[in-house]
């Protein structure tokens, strides 16, 4: 079971500002889903390799050849706040 503290911790990791009500609803819903997911723990997977890709490709590279860049203006066209050619963000306080 996922606790209220777990939910708060995960919300912080995920950078989601949730209200007290939302945290509580989230806790209930996550627990409802985890009940189903926990069934996986009973599956015998001893000696089974994990699959991270549906198609088993290896060694896919690109050559070290330059391709075009965006101009600073193109790059910043979607930026919510900018200062000159920089993206501007509010002051940083470490968590």
């Amino acid at each position: 079971m996922i606790s209220r503290q777990d939910v708060e911790h995960v919300a912080r990791l995920a950078r989601l500002a949730l209200t007290a009500d939302e945290l509580e609803r989230m806790r209930e819903q996550l627990n409802a889903i985890l009940v189903h997911i926990d069934a996986l723990k009973a599956v015998d997977t001893s000696g089974v390799e994990p699959t991270s890709h549906a198609v088993p490709l290896v060694n896919v590279f690109r050559d070290d050849e330059p391709r075009g860049c965006l101009s600073a203006d193109e790059m910043l066209q979607n930026a919510p706040d900018r200062a000159g050619a920089f993206v501007r963000v509010p002051r940083i306080i470490e968590d």
Partner: protein, 484 residues
């Protein structure tokens, strides 16, 4: 104009000079104008873009030099595919004003083929959902019954094609998001092999499960739409470097001699009896056409859903971390950086997206990785092995696409109930094998039912060939919703 004319018929008419891409495009734009307020199939209608592309196609047909079998075909593109200079929202507030400075590879290919983009189609936010009720803007409705959902997450392009608001379309399928809406809307919908169509420019939900694929009014259109989109792309490291066959070449070869496997695990308790009956009847039809039918077992199927709800959210929590109000998209002001980011994400994402981000963050967090993500990847191997074992004996697997038909808006408010919708479609996403949904009947209430054909890796041709044989033997695909 018949708004439900397949692309291969439209382009034949273009070649004969009976009509033009511009005339057809205008007719679709007029229908969108008239009907889309009811349907909600589009987020952005790209009128000017479509008209310019149609005029260019007109000229090519006048010169007798169409570029491809899709030249002049007006299409609906799910708003998860990036379009240069055209807003790409992914159905989310957080990207409501995002204008990509690049095209998705498939968008480039379609433009090169001369296809016409009518607009960016509606979807569940970030492709998370099975009903297109979770679009941040408005839900999409099912053309067969406006009170019902079109399925999802690619409900927009599905409803557009089924409703006669586009001749064809493209969606994405991570857990069934093409095949399930195709089944709900009475269309053909194909999820190709993982890596067959480049994902470059497809806004990621779950990278290892995301597939792009087409919606067609019939199997021939679906084969044409696949052929133009498929192929190797150096911008996608997971793209397969294999030649692309002409998917229409073998369509008419029939199913004689094909071995069809019917998995026990796809006929479950609680599934809609009308679906079971329709699918069983379809299997008999395929048998009568010369296919041999045998039972197969895919024993890991019951675990596929839980596996999906670990891997999908885990990858999503990672892929969606970039939406933080810093570089693009929504920004909600805050006291400091973290406050800004947390408020932005809280305001920019809908409830379902937040739920999956939370779930995914949790299963990846310290101490839980092995029990959840690690274990899910191993179970994923078991699901793959099931298909490997089955395909050692049969050429195709035949099954229902969904356990139920289109449900009413708001009917599945419980997330777990909603997730259960994807039980039959998820395994093919997890294994990367190609699968199609074709119309195989209607309920008494007049709602479409889908038959799912699953094939071997890169064997889309056989999947389409069997679907075509079935389609030719039936006329479900000719039925049209009455949308006024």
């Amino acid at each position: 104009m018949d708004a439900h004319r397949p692309i291969h018929e439209l382009t034949a008419a273009f070649r004969r000079g009976e009509t033009t891409p511009s005339a057809v495009t205008e007719a679709f734009l007029a229908r969108i104008e008239k009907l889309d307020s009811k349907l909600g199939a589009y987020i952005t209608v790209t009128r000017d873009h479509a008209r310019a592309a149609a005029a260019a196609a007109d000229a090519r047909y006048r010169d007798g030099r169409p570029r491809s079998p899709l030249d002049g075909a007006p299409l609906a593109i799910k708003d998860v595919l990036c379009t240069r200079g055209i807003t790409t929202t992914c159905g989310s507030r957080i990207l409501e004003k995002f204008v990509p400075p690049y095209d998705a590879t498939i968008v480039t290919r379609l433009a090169q083929a001369g296809a016409i983009m009518l607009g960016k189609a509606n979807m569940d936010e970030f492709a998370m959902g099975s009903s297109t009720e979770h679009s941040a803007f408005y839900p999409t409705r099912n053309p067969w019954d406006l009170a019902r959902v079109p399925g999802g997450s690619s409900g927009g392009p599905a409803a557009a094609v089924a409703g006669g608001l586009a001749a064809g379309g493209y969606g994405t399928d991570t857990g069934g998001s093409i095949r399930q809406p195709a089944a709900f809307c009475g269309l053909v919908g194909l999820k190709p092999t993982y890596g067959r169509i480049s994902r470059y420019g497809l806004v990621a939900f779950a990278s290892s499960l995301d597939h792009i694929g087409p919606f067609g009014l019939d199997v021939t259109d679906t084969a044409l739409l696949l052929g133009v989109a498929a192929g190797h792309d150096p911008l996608d490291a997971t793209s397969i470097d294999a030649p692309v066959p002409d998917y229409t070449a073998d369509l008419a070869r029939g199913v004689r001699g094909l071995r069809l496997g019917v998995p026990d695990e796809y006929f479950i308790e609680g599934m809609d009896p009308e679906i079971e009956a329709a699918v069983r009847a379809a299997i008999e039809t395929l048998q009568s056409l010369g296919g041999t039918v045998e039972r197969v077992s895919l024993p890991a199927t019951p675990h596929a859903l839980a596996t999906y709800y670990v891997i999908g959210p885990a990858e999503a929590s990672s892929n969606l971390a970039r939406y933080d109000g810093v570089k693009y998209g929504l920004r909600v002001p805050g006291r400091d950086l973290i406050d800004m980011e947390s408020r932005t994400r809280a305001a920019g994402f809908g409830a379902e997206v937040k739920r999956r981000i939370m779930l995914g963050t949790y299963v990846l967090s310290a101490g839980y990785y092995d029990a959840y993500y690690g274990q899910a990847q191993k179970v994923r191997t078991l699901v793959r092995r099931d298909f490997d074992a089955a395909f050692a004996r049969v050429d195709l697997i035949v099954a229902p696409t969904t356990p139920n038909v289109a449900f009413r808006h708001g009917e599945k408010a419980d997330p777990v109930q909603m997730y259960l919708n994807d039980v039959f479609t998820i395994p093919a996403d997890m294994s990367g094998v190609p699968a199609v949904s074709v119309p195989c009947g209607f309920t008494k209430a007049g709602l479409p039912i889908g038959l799912q054909l699953i094939g071997k890796t890169l064997d889309e041709a056989t999947v389409l060939r069997a679907a075509y044989a079935y389609e030719q033997a039936t006329d479900w695909h000719r039925r049209r919703p009455d949308l006024q």
